[in-house]
Point group: C2
Chain length 138, copies 2
Amino acid sequence: MNEDDDLGALCAGAGRALAEAERPVLEAHGLSMWQYVVLSALAPGAAPSQLVLAQQIHYDKTRLIALLDGLEAAGLVSRGPDPADRRARIVRLTSAGTHRHAAARAGIRAVEDQRLAGLGAEERRVLRSALAQLANSG
Amino acid sequence: MNEDDDLGALCAGAGRALAEAERPVLEAHGLSMWQYVVLSALAPGAAPSQLVLAQQIHYDKTRLIALLDGLEAAGLVSRGPDPADRRARIVRLTSAGTHRHAAARAGIRAVEDQRLAGLGAEERRVLRSALAQLANSG
DNA sequence: TATTGTTATACTCTATAACTATA
DNA sequence: TATAGTTATAGAGTATAACAATA
């Protein structure tokens, strides 16, 4: 009951189940799924322009504007000028944003760990590695 | 660059990359993604009601109607009465639907195989098994 | 002339409510 | 009274086009 399913269907099912389980966690931290995605993209310390950010997270640049408006109003993100290109605006995480993301991420990781119960370290490594290969083979 | 990503983000990325790669294959067989999902659900020989089918594939029962209308008009699916409940309609694959699905699936599998290049049989088994566990742990 | 951010518009997809026929 | 299928409507999500400022 496993060899029959397409890989795409399995990824979709796993992604949907994870999203459903994680939504309440994000809500408890006052974040939507896409808001969390933005914070995650900025968390490593990145400071991309809005256009680059939109491409990184596969989100429409026109929709990103309202998303950033909300995050900026909540004090989680800041938009500043790009000294090298005055058309562009650089997006950064505020310290409040950094803390909010870290807290939400801890909750997300707890859910994931629970869902991976029974899998050993090597199996988890294979899973992450294979998914990363699939995501980057396009 | 792997331990940092959330599992949900990895699943979403892999699912999106697969969907993008598979869409042209499905188009070549005259199928949309959701049409293929319906055919796949019926392929094992199942004969569910429309409501059960909608729940199985996580699709809205009201949207399923137009989807089945199209598949029925194309001769890939048949809707018949349920002898046990005259309110319900039983959905089945026609022989044309069976063949169309088999042909499309072969193309899908070829794409997946190409994307999994470099992974051994055991790694692929771990991947499928872990994804199935994640999808069914809700 | 091309590009970034922005706004406005149109379009598609999805969810909700109401109807019919059966149970 | 409740449920399967259907239809119609409303809502959210997404894509397209046009604009101002800058390159």
